[in-house]
Amino acid sequence: MAELKNIEISDSAVRSAEALDELQDLQGEKMTLNMGPSHPATHGVLRLSLELDGEIISKADPEIGYLHRGDEKIAENMTYNQFIPYTDRLDYLAPLANNVAYALAVEKLLGVDDKLPERCKFIRVICCELARVSAHLLGLGAFAMDVGALTVFLHTFNEREKIYNLIEALTGARFTTTYTRIGGLSRDLPEGWTEELSKFTKEVSEAIEEADKLLTRNKIFIDRTKGVGVITREEAIDFGLTGPNLRGSNIEYDLRKAHPYLVYDQLDFDIPYGEVGDCYDRYLIRMEEMRQSVRILDQCIAKLPNGPVNLDDGKIVMPHKQKVLSSMEELIHQFMLVTQGQNAPAGEVYFGAENPKGELGFYIFSKGGGVPHRMKIRAPSFVNLSILSHKLPGHMMSDIVAILGSLDFVMGECDR
């Protein structure tokens, strides 16, 4: 990542660092500290090479790429459906949401995104929001753990365990879900699943309130997070932040409201946004987003329509096996889908979905046929991390963990 040499001075911590700069003669030499890629606070494999002046950071260079797998290139060599398992491994804390975002992007390319059955759309919204609750629970727990409150982390993990059980019942896998298919879903909801889900929404609401009691008015937590890592409105826009980090800086922008996809326009929910853009605001937003997600989940359970979950189009969705064995046309469809993939039209398409970490976008450039010519993944964590080298200088060493925790990034997505 490129170094930013000219630092815009804004908050008090930076000013104090500047004041120190004026006393250059009195200073000793600076210390270079390598933080990561294997460090408890860098959530995965982020590496920061820091220049420290005592406990104050004078320069921070994020080094990324330790988890680079070349997902974008891999996508060029397989059919659209085959790439779905790779999307699990982008933001591995919210694989369901990645599956949905990717499927929607390809469906937009195929021109079938508005023809999806209602039930499919509702189930996909449930998936997205379940993933959001799961990712925020982890983000919150990890953030609390980074500033030293270990108990919150264990409590949120208890709730995530329930989500994983639900996901296991839904998809057969706990972590690598691969749930969506182009034009539908791999399977319908299992029997009794919605009851389990509504039981979970009640339990998770209690857990969220419990975490709220432990942190929101905790003096030490507030001291550690308020006024730390302030990202102003302008900075948030300039650096292209998305998701809770953008909304923390007092910008009400959520793709679910701004460009509603699936059935978000039929659902009633609020978008929280912060005032100052500090770590505390970002924390509060994640808390509130979880409550809103629970609200959405409850509405989806109530409104869930019956009907098919897949598009009725043999050229896009794999036909039922029984029909493949008994009917010629379905056999041909299956053969074509397996060997060639969906025959997408030539063209370019971009679709961004509001994922837990921000806008996960898939830009697909197709020359026609079953594989993309080029696919670009806009990973929110990658963009969000770009602000680090700008934001960290001037803060204390201990603030790094608070800022990293509040930015809530996933390296699987950042490095792709």
């Binding site: 606070a41 609390a144 030293g148 270990l150 409590h155 001291d223």
Partner: protein, 376 residues
């Protein structure tokens, strides 16, 4: 036979001291081991987990609620590879764990952990400047950590060492200031000369700064405990003990999310375990100090049996048990706080120490002085 034994003890007084030292050590070491165990079980309780509940008597199926766990932990740390990185300053690197651990044990030398067993006063060294000795020794604890940070020759331990030196120095001052009012009340020769009976015997020949005189002062009733007479001093002392023992919310030196493991990052095996034991021994020593200074020591305001020095063996043993239970209560408090609170930032910690606690404790001294002057 009995004559022979008493003769030996009369001729070699250090023999009695040696027995006391061994006795205290035999109590403290298991307490250290089981406070680690208690930490793990209580944290599990708080975090909705189960905690270690499997290890019981070796080679049997008896689990005993996992009470064998400390033994297994100790054995494990002996069996781990004792790795010394190539770039460390070897002598200091080897010395640091011992230097960190010894002071926390030495503090117990002056702590009166009971009244009498037979004719023996239950304190190893009945110093007339007990409290000064404690502070002197407690401050030595920082050297182990600083030395570990320096000797590791690595950046994270270095930062941990630097932080701890600053932290411990600043909190020692607040701690010392907090104790001054306690002795302004207790170290009063007029009050001490009025003592009668066993108390007179108990305090025979000790100076005004001796820790057992503080206990004597608090023995009358529950409200003569310093915790009620000097609540401000108690709060400051409590927080300062947290900071001195590097417990959350003040565990700057090893704050594991920023400094990996702080000063003990480069340590492994038994040397790491020594730091660990040193930390818990320091917790016990701190709790013992709080019990002695603020919570009546081994006394309980439940009648003469509990609140006057023992005349029988059983009474003496019960006094020791009361003292250990009081320590356990404080240990539980420290463990509970650790798992409920986040960690302060380094500069905030220094702010609290210097800008809040120091002025407040100074004010408390002046307030106490005024009250004493008015009432005298």
């Amino acid at each position: 036979m009995i004559n022979f034994v008493t003769e030996i003890f009369a001729n070699y007084p250090w023999l009695m001291v040696l027995i006391k030292v061994l006795g205290v050590f035999a109590v403290i070491m298991p307490m250290v081991a089981y406070s680690v165990m208690a930490e793990r079980r209580i944290s599990a309780l708080i975090q909705d987990r189960i905690g270690p509940n499997r290890v019981g008597i070796p080679f049997t199926r008896v689990k005993l609620l996992g009470l064998g766990q400390p033994l297994a932990d100790g054995l494990k740390s002996f069996l781990k590879e004792d790795f010394t990185p190539a770039y460390v300053k070897r002598v200091f690197f080897w010395m640091a764990p011992a230097v960190a651990m010894i002071p926390s044990f030495v503090v117990f030398a002056v702590i009166p952990f009971g009244s009498f067993l037979g004719a023996q006063k239950m304190v190893i060294a009945d110093l007339n400047v007990g409290i000064l000795f404690t502070f002197g020794i407690v401050s030595l604890g920082v050297y182990g950590i600083v030395l570990a940070g320096y000797a590791s020759n690595s950046k994270y331990p270095f930062l941990g060492g630097i932080r701890s030196s600053a932290q411990m120095i600043s909190y020692e001052i607040a701690m010392g200031m907090a104790v001054v009012p306690v002795f302004m009340l207790a170290a009063d020769s007029a009050w001490q000369s009025n003592l009668t009976g066993t108390w007179k015997n108990y305090l025979d020949g000790v100076g005004l700064l001796n820790l057992s005189s503080v206990i004597a002062y608090q023995s009358d009733s529950l409200f003569s405990w310093m915790i009620f007479k000097q609540p401000i001093a108690f709060c400051i002392f409590l927080v300062a003990i947290f900071a001195e023992t590097n417990r959350l919310p003040f565990d700057m030196p090893e704050s594991e999310t920023e400094l990996v493991a702080g000063y003990n990052t480069e340590y492994s095996s038994m040397r790491f375990a020594l730091f660990f034991m040193g930390e818990y021994a320091a917790m016990i020593a701190g709790s013992a100090l709080m019990v002695v200074l603020f919570c009546g020591g081994w006394t309980l305001p439940l009648g003469d049996f509990f609140s006057t020095p023992a005349e029988t063996l059983i009474q003496g043993i019960i006094h020791i048990i009361v003292f250990i239970i009081k320590i356990a209560v404080f240990l539980a408090l420290m463990i509970w706080v650790r798992w409920m609170l986040p960690r302060f930032r380094y500069d905030q910690l220094m702010n609290i120490g210097w800008k809040r606690f120091l002025p407040v404790s100074l004010g408390n001294i002046i307030l106490t002085a005024i009250v004493l002057w008015v009432t005298a």
